[in-house]
Subunit: 304 residues, 2 copies
Amino acid sequence: MTARAATALETYLFEKKRLIDEALERCLPDERTYPPVIFQACRHSLFAGGKRLRPILCLAAAEATEGNAEASSLLPAACALELIHTYSLIHDDLPAMDNDDYRRGRPTSHRVFGEDIAILAGDALLTEAFHLMARRELMRDVPPERLLEAIRTVAEAAGYLGMVGGQVADIKAEGTAGDLETLLYIHTRKTASLIRASLRVGALLRGAGPDGLSALSTYGDHIGLAFQIADDILNVEGDSALLGKKTGSDACRGKLTYPGLLGLEAARLRASELVELALAAIENLDDRADPLRMIARYIKERKT
Amino acid sequence: MTARAATALETYLFEKKRLIDEALERCLPDERTYPPVIFQACRHSLFAGGKRLRPILCLAAAEATEGNAEASSLLPAACALELIHTYSLIHDDLPAMDNDDYRRGRPTSHRVFGEDIAILAGDALLTEAFHLMARRELMRDVPPERLLEAIRTVAEAAGYLGMVGGQVADIKAEGTAGDLETLLYIHTRKTASLIRASLRVGALLRGAGPDGLSALSTYGDHIGLAFQIADDILNVEGDSALLGKKTGSDACRGKLTYPGLLGLEAARLRASELVELALAAIENLDDRADPLRMIARYIKERKT
């Protein structure tokens, strides 16, 4: 990536992240609401320095579909994607699952609030995501049938045929020899499905036709997988200070990963191929899709 | 309740339960779907002999609103309420929460499948509830804006200002002296909010006006509280063989309950008063609301 492209991307991500952070701040009750501990727990995990990749992809897909429309009118739906992502991190980190003490440099929810509150904070964020998407008055320019289709898309991506199914397969694969087919199943469900859904939601809410929707979905599938492979690579050789969590934990735990199964070089190559496939999927879209092109290239170069 | 009324109610509940059980059977993937353990876990808890009170109330409210319409066209929304109820039981039973080994005479989810799968089964059922409510093609006679309003109603009832908030307050109140205000907060959120939402969803989807909606909501508030008080009473003096779980567990755990706070007699009196208030709330509805009247009277007489 050239220096100019890197700056353009940084500006784009910074602007969008600011919009999303402000919207998230508005949508969550403050920490004095009764019973305070649940709002403290939700906020602890939601405002922990996440990149907001999923909501940004949602807004970028909306812009690629209908460039002139004000992306901010879709912020509630975009925020819902971040709530679902955050719920999944809280539950994945629990002692009964991955048993992680730190994430993004901060103690995980159950370490601060106890397992009971961490489970409930995840439940609350998941529920609030659907609540937000059903709040028509916040997204007045979107017809109700499109909101329903968006809810359905997100629920499918998050449910037992999506993220939950992927997490189950991941747990069951730990410590087994594993194979590429199982690994692909896990990555597709655990990571790519919500990323794909984020793009679809942005496109759907802006009334994308079948071609646009299909192109953006395929882009999402590919960058979703590339993102997870990059994550696995960072877990092997990343800087734990930058990442805010221990590296090497996947290997200790016998997690099924691309680097573990194929080696680092082959994993890197696969991530690059996937980014190329993602770019090819949206090659017929005009320059309103440029942010999506920059994001795809960034994914294989990211350090955190 | 007279013998004739008891028979009429039994027939009504039996018929509706059959409809709901069949619909639940259709909406869940079978146990051979990959990864099978998550579908086994969802089915283990969902088909464990529940009374289906919430979906029945939803259908009964729909009938009270528009008697001639086919209640079965609302079955997906009614089933969603049962999925949410079941998710809440699975999570409440977890070792980090109430640590219950049995429910309805069967080992709880985490005893059979482990804590990780039990957490994920709850997550999956909660997510599937919203998925079901967004499936327009299953409820063709319902305008999309009403489905959105129903989703919003259920999410509010289930979220941090509803069931999750109630469970948090319940956990935090354990072993404390407690007071009636806290107890009312807990019961209203933990139990009454989803019961109220069940009635509202049935009424909303059938296009109830503000008066009908308000009457059915008030009915729901009152029977919701009466139901929880009856539950607390059964926990003190119920037949554990009939209930399929240990009795006396609330007292052992220092749970805040009506009988614990006020004594059994005062608790019984309060449940009766609430049933009367529920009946008064719907006194202006015609005889299409008779099943709701029977259900209200049944609640204080139930043995399981």
